[in-house]
């Protein structure tokens, strides 16, 4: 049976083969852009993609170089008439991903602590008001 998402399948296959990614998230945002003027003549449901790729292949490379690696890999799909029109990229190394995840966790933790503190203060205030 033919796939309903040939472009997405190609992206996944190519990136998996080339970068052996630790994380690969593919989001098809095409439906958000179907009303765009540039999309008026397009019938494809696979025009706008957003990728999150974590791979060792990006080690010691600046962001533009990492993006160019992905663009080069998908050159044909992007050049094709009615192919990929927009490709958003987030390219990380495993250690960067770990750092970002830790930052996110820390922020969530700090937020939770602040919330607990506020609740405590409120409780103390209410207790005071009662006496």
């Amino acid at each position: 049976m033919n796939s309903n998402t040939p472009v997405e399948d190609t992206i996944r296959a190519k990136i998996t083969a080339a970068f052996n990614p630790q994380t690969l998230e593919i989001y098809n945002d095409s439906h958000l852009h179907s009303h765009h003027k540039a999309m008026a003549s397009s019938t494809s449901k696979e025009t706008h993609f957003r990728l999150v790729i974590t791979s060792d292949a990006f080690d010691s490379k600046m962001q533009p170089a990492r993006h160019r690696m992905v663009y080069a890999l998908l050159r044909d799909e992007m050049a094709l008439e009615g192919g990929i029109h927009a490709l958003q990229l987030r390219t990380l190394t495993p250690s960067e991903e770990e750092r970002q995840q830790k930052k996110k966790d820390d922020e969530a933790k700090a937020k939770a602590e602040a919330k607990a503190l506020r609740a405590e203060a409120r409780a103390a205030q209410e207790a005071e008001a009662e006496t």
Partner: protein, 168 residues
């Protein structure tokens, strides 16, 4: 924010043949050590005409901060170009040190800039003649603070902007 309209000087430049009389390599030599052709095969490098390359060289050198975008700063024609403009505005880039080029106005520029930068999408940001990145790189540099640092180092921000922000 940007109030000044920066029209495409590329079209005007191409109306002046004198602009192209200097050999392309002489003009290119004045650019940064960054080599825009590094990722291209000889076949691809041949697709872009010397005239287009020279015109883009001039565009890139026309201001410290140069954005190739779809539409104008006032009316961007694409969400990614709009995001780029908004970030430059939030950062407080001095309009006098900024130029925007609307690739939709000029098919040659639209195709040429992709090859020139070895970058298949629009918008594209150049600072001091060097390619910085597209919308995603701008967003992540903006969030990570790297963009503010770079703009400060390159002295392209509206003066007093940093202090004004501190007071808020």
């Amino acid at each position: 924010m940007f109030t000044r309209t920066v029209a495409s000087t590329l079209l005007r430049a191409s109306a002046r043949p004198a602009a192209f009389r200097a050999p392309a390599h002489a003009l290119r030599a004045s650019l940064s050590p960054w080599a825009p052709l590094s990722g291209l095969t000889p076949f691809q490098a041949r697709l872009i005409s010397d005239q287009t390359r020279t015109a883009i060289d001039k565009a890139v050198a026309s201001a410290p901060v140069v954005l190739f975008m779809k539409g104008t700063p006032e009316t961007p024609q694409c969400g990614f170009s709009r995001a780029a403009i908004q970030i430059l505005g939030i950062q407080g880039v001095n309009p006098e040190k900024f130029a925007a080029f609307n690739v939709l106005e000029d098919p040659e520029l639209r195709e040429g800039i992709k090859e020139y930068s070895d970058w298949p999408t629009i918008p594209q940001l150049y600072v001091d003649g060097e390619f910085v990145g597209g919308c995603d790189i701008l967003v992540s540099m903006h969030q990570g603070g790297d963009l503010a640092k770079m703009f400060e180092e390159k002295k392209v921000l509206v003066e007093g902007e940093a202090e004004a922000e501190k007071k808020e």
